[in-house]
Symmetry: C2
Subunit: 458 residues, 2 copies
């Protein structure tokens, strides 16, 4: 197809899968603000965190000094089932765009969970097993995280209890069945199985549920059973740590072929994929070793970085979780029914929030219909049908490549393709039928929600 | 995990993707019987075939002497989007089975079509484009073939008209949307758009359609439009030729690591995957260069090899296509609603039928619930959720590995994992809910259907 010496896939061997995660916080000059106890507003201690999270994960959550953390062998064994993930040179996309830019994407969707979530799910399940626990509880909205956790728990022989937002449970029965096939129990939330669920059902009979409610049920379920802990698939620093494997592999492959990125792009919901993808590039940027633009792309319907406030807020709508300092739209903000369910979160990882506040990272928001336009274009060029979440990054990558065409600059663009859209065809159908709507919250709506932020003197 | 020098994935580089297909017929001592004109019962000529098929494909269909055929560069460019396909050492499955057997699987599901069908779809679309055609028509049942063809036509900018069996069209709206996303038009069959469709609708109002009817509509649609031809995803010798890339890659990777298979296993519906996977191994077997057992696995509900007759039969229920000599249950045989839609075909590729008749290949049939049992076991061990079709091969591979455990023999088993089950969760749900039924046709049913075979004096 061309004479370039870069292959379509920049392959790594199994021996090149990273053996350590990179803890970006260790190299950050301004550390992310600590999690606070929601009652005392004092920094969460290890003893407090370990009531909810596994011990080792609580330790990782608090560790902002150790730059590299060894990946235990059983996790590495699991990783090799789906890693190294392909880093692809998007030759066909470049050609279709007629751009001088070189575009690469790191594809994390080549596993049954369909997304990068498996990277952290296997780590969290492993530490739970190591601690001798019986099982874990969690919530899932779009379903990627619940699927990933089900797979990891099945592998480590742990009980997995998933509270799935009721509207997703009903609209996405296929996601639910994948989880059940991996042995997980899946409960529509709100449910009669928890006190908080019963309370909500009494107050709002017939509600379709929300992520906030499902989190509250999952936390209650974990706390009320011996040998259980709660696990979460995004936002937390431990998750960003595990996801650093995305960026480390990307950098290893690029280095192998002597490629230096000018721009690194990722979609951003809670921040797990973006934080992981950019980790080593941001580390080099902070250390002054290398420089590149880093762009977070969020939905215009849920624009925490671009239109939120940088403040302490609850991580869940039920306000049972610790407070985190983050760019947030307020925990009472109700994102519209955007089809990128994985990006419908009111806040942003503390790590990314701090980096953005420090001016080390750019952010932009994009409208849903423009995202699906990019998704369809990409699918037809590169073969892979992308997840709606991932397609936010595709949108920005295409826009940057078009800018390169206009300026004639041959820049190198790297973006994260976090997953596949195979369980999102309902959304594609809306787009194919020309009935996809774009909803952008008004300033008033955001101001109303931000007015309810907790008062914290930290 | 172990000290074996074989990695989990036996990687090939892009340069190791085969550049030629292997035409097994050239090395067969007893050639497959020729296709016959359904009216004259004389062998189909090139001129007859090219009315329905693209010229180059008609040539390939008739060629049983050229052993290797160069793969045109545009097809090779497309192949590199999803090839080389992984050959995986099933270490986790071996461990779970506690077997001394070494198990390998060739995974063809790592692409958006979700199966091996893309290997032939891209070839058929390319030849149509090369001939200057406007587009192609086809039928699809389970949806894998239609999806693959949509992707290939999108890439080569061809019109793609898919007639989808009505019951699938309604039960699998997500498959339909993938095709639409790639720009294909998808029509529920029977439809008002063809004479044969209108006739069937008049006779059977409210029918859910059948593959036979969809084929008839697709052929009529192609013949009635200038610049269109009909394409088919299985059974034909041209398809087995294109699918030989599966076996060639498998053999290249095994040779690279010095591995010689004792058993090669594939699921068998029309025979495209099995024919492709076994091609080079069968070639060596015929030439006496190497020997191994080759096992075809078919559903007990549609057992053409194990319970059918070896005779000339219609390829479609509408009897508009050429007659093929094959193991068949009779073109009027109605397979029960088995969830492995891709294996619900009354006949078997002429190539495989001849090899089976020559005693070069074994065949066995397995029941649906045993297949899903194996599928779930495999998914939990190896991470990947398999297609129901592929899981027939998994069932046989597990059974052979258990035999090795019992006999203490360290045999090497290779099987084809043709695709993923992401669009088959309705079937998994039946299994998860414990309400999956096994239907095995009675001898009477098969005899009744075989009694209607056409009388051919060839």
């Amino acid at each position: 197809m061309n004479n370039n010496t870069i292959p379509y896939k920049l392959l790594l061997t199994e021996n090149e899968i990273p053996t350590r995660w990179y803890n970006l916080r260790a190299d950050m000059k301004n550390k992310p603000a600590p999690l606070l106890n929601p009652e005392t507003h004092k920094p969460m201690t290890f003893e407090e965190l370990r009531k909810v999270f596994c011990d080792e994960l609580a330790r990782q959550e608090l560790d902002d000094t150790t730059p590299y953390i060894d990946i235990p062998t059983p996790i590495r064994d699991f990783y090799r089932m789906f890693r190294p993930a392909p880093l692809v040179r998007a030759y066909y996309l470049e050609k279709a765009l007629n751009t001088p830019a070189h575009i690469y994407y790191k594809f994390e969707g080549n596993n049954t969970s369909g997304s990068h979530k498996l990277n952290s799910a296997v780590a969290q399940a492993y530490y739970a097993k190591e601690q001798g626990l019986k099982g874990v509880t969690t919530e899932t909205g779009a379903g990627q995280w619940g699927t990933a956790l089900s797979m990891a728990c099945s592998y480590f022989d742990l009980i997995c209890k998933v509270f799935m937002v009721k509207v997703s449970y009903e609209q996405k029965p296929h996601r639910r069945e994948v989880m059940r096939t991996y042995g997980a129990s899946v409960t529509a939330s709100p449910s009669e199985t928890t006190a908080v669920g019963r309370k909500i059902l009494a107050e709002h009979p017939g509600t379709g549920g929300s992520l906030g409610c499902a989190i509250s049920e999952a936390v209650e379920s974990a706390l009320s059973q011996d040998g259980f802990r709660y696990v979460l698939g995004s936002v937390l620093s431990q998750v960003v740590l595990h996801q650093s494997i995305i960026g480390l592999e990307t950098k290893t492959a690029l280095d192998k072929y002597g490629v230096k990125p000018d721009i690194v792009i990722g979609c951003a919901g809670g921040g797990s994929n973006l934080g992981g993808l950019i980790a080593p590039f941001m580390g080099d940027k902070i250390k002054g070793v290398a420089d590149c633009r880093i762009i977070a792309v969020e939905p215009a319907s849920c624009p925490s970085l671009t239109r939120g406030a940088y403040a302490y807020d609850y991580c869940d709508t039920g306000a049972v979780c610790p407070l985190a300092k983050m760019y947030t739209l307020g925990s009472s903000f109700m994102p519209s029914a955007n089809h990128a369910g994985g990006l419908r979160y009111h806040g942003m990882s503390s790590i990314l929030s701090q980096l953005y506040d420090d001016g080390l990272m750019e952010a932009r928001s994009v409208e849903q219909s423009k995202v699906f336009e990019a998704a369809t274009f990409f699918a037809r060029c590169e073969g892979t049908l992308p997840a709606p979440e991932s397609s936010h990054a595709i949108r920005a990558a295409i826009d940057e490549a078009v800018r390169c065409r206009e300026t004639g600059k041959q820049e190198t663009i790297v973006f994260g393709l976090t997953g596949t859209g195979y369980f999102d065809m309902y959304a594609y159908q809306k787009f194919n039928d020309g009935i996809m709507s774009d909803y952008i919250p008004t300033d008033d709506e955001i101001a109303k929600s931000l007015a309810k932020l907790p008062q914290v003197n930290a």
